[in-house]
């Protein structure tokens, strides 16, 4: 049987899996950042941010 086929299959499977993994992580990052931006737009602040603002004001 032709070995080139096996070599190609191994590389294609690996490339697809790693590209998929990278894309999944990127999309996860995007979605979480959007959620944070939405919450911040709604006026929700994390405790540390409120403290930083108080410290800066005083």
């Amino acid at each position: 049987m032709n070995h080139a086929l096996f070599v190609t299959a191994a590389y294609v499977v690996s490339a697809l899996a790693l590209l998929g993994l990278g894309a999944w992580i990127l999309l996860d990052q995007r979605a979480r950042q959007k959620e944070m931006a939405d919450l911040e737009a709604a006026g929700v602040k994390r405790r540390s941010e409120r403290k930083a603002r108080r410290d800066a004001a005083s």
């Binding site: 191994a10 690996s14 993994l21 990052q29 950042q33």
Partner: protein, 255 residues
């Protein structure tokens, strides 16, 4: 306050998730670019190298199979260190690191098994055998799946962190079993040919492409891991902010 207390060490700086986000944001583009370049160089060298006298062109599968197999174990050790970070030092990023690494480890382990299987068909004449090496790596894959489920089972990460850390540490026993499986049991899989006390037994024309590919894929692993850690930190921040918003809504309703 003394100077020592006001000037935290660099490692302690990284314990602060905000600092981690700042620093990793600066490092990531470089790390990712270097990972891709090194991997490309390694694989290009692999294709330029002569074919193996027994394996023929299928030796080229080794330039991805072997790095994937190494990384599948390295990822588990990264998670084991993170588990210690959770249990011993209560490091705030340790559980983030463990949870973020598990799916990446699962993908690299699945790829090690898949590429090994694709190589095994023409070279051994079979896709799969239930021998020591293949079975122990398959068990590693199952452990990654279990840890993915465990780290995502509870809404409160503080509660799942301890359980996941303990399970991870118990599972470390599998790593030496994988490493020495080819010596302890009869197997189709070849014994170690790079990481051995008397030095590698691979000719340098094939060894260098392998080592450079392995370095490239390792850098790629750390790029993915840091990216996933950032996403996880943001996920936890969002859930804290949502809880605060719900509390505020409760207060407003009561007033």
């Amino acid at each position: 306050m003394s100077d020592a207390a006001t000037q935290p060490t660099r490692l302690a700086d990284l314990a602060n998730p905000t600092r981690f986000l700042d620093l990793s944001g600066k490092v990531l583009p470089w790390l990712g670019a270097i990972a891709l370049i090194v991997t490309a160089i390694g694989l290009a060298m692999g294709f330029a190298a002569p074919e193996d006298y027994q394996q023929g062109s299928t030796v080229r599968i080794m330039y991805i199979h072997v790095p994937f197999a190494w990384i599948s174990m390295m990822c588990y050790m990264v998670m084991a260190v993170a588990a210690l970070g959770t249990l011993v030092w209560k490091h705030p990023l340790a559980d983030v690191s463990l949870k973020a690494a598990a799916p990446i480890g699962a993908v690299f382990t699945a790829l090690a098994l898949a590429t090994g299987s694709i190589w095994g068909r023409p070279m051994w004449g079979t896709w799969w055998v239930w021998d020591g090496r293949l079975t122990s790596v398959f068990v590693l894959f199952l452990m990654y799946l279990g840890l993915i489920a465990l780290t995502r089972a509870l809404d409160d990460p503080a509660r799942s962190a301890r359980a996941a850390a303990i399970v991870t540490l118990v599972g470390v026993i599998n790593i030496p079993i994988i490493k020495f499986s080819v010596e302890w049991w009869n197997t189709l899989h070849q014994p170690a040919s790079v990481m051995r006390l008397d030095g590698p037994t691979i000719h340098s024309s094939l060894l260098w492409p392998l080592l450079i590919s392995a370095l490239g894929f390792s850098l790629l692993f750390f790029t993915f891991h840091i990216m996933a850690m950032r996403a996880e930190i943001w996920r936890r921040r969002v859930s804290v902010m949502r809880r605060m918003m719900a509390k505020r809504a409760d207060r407003d309703a009561a007033a």
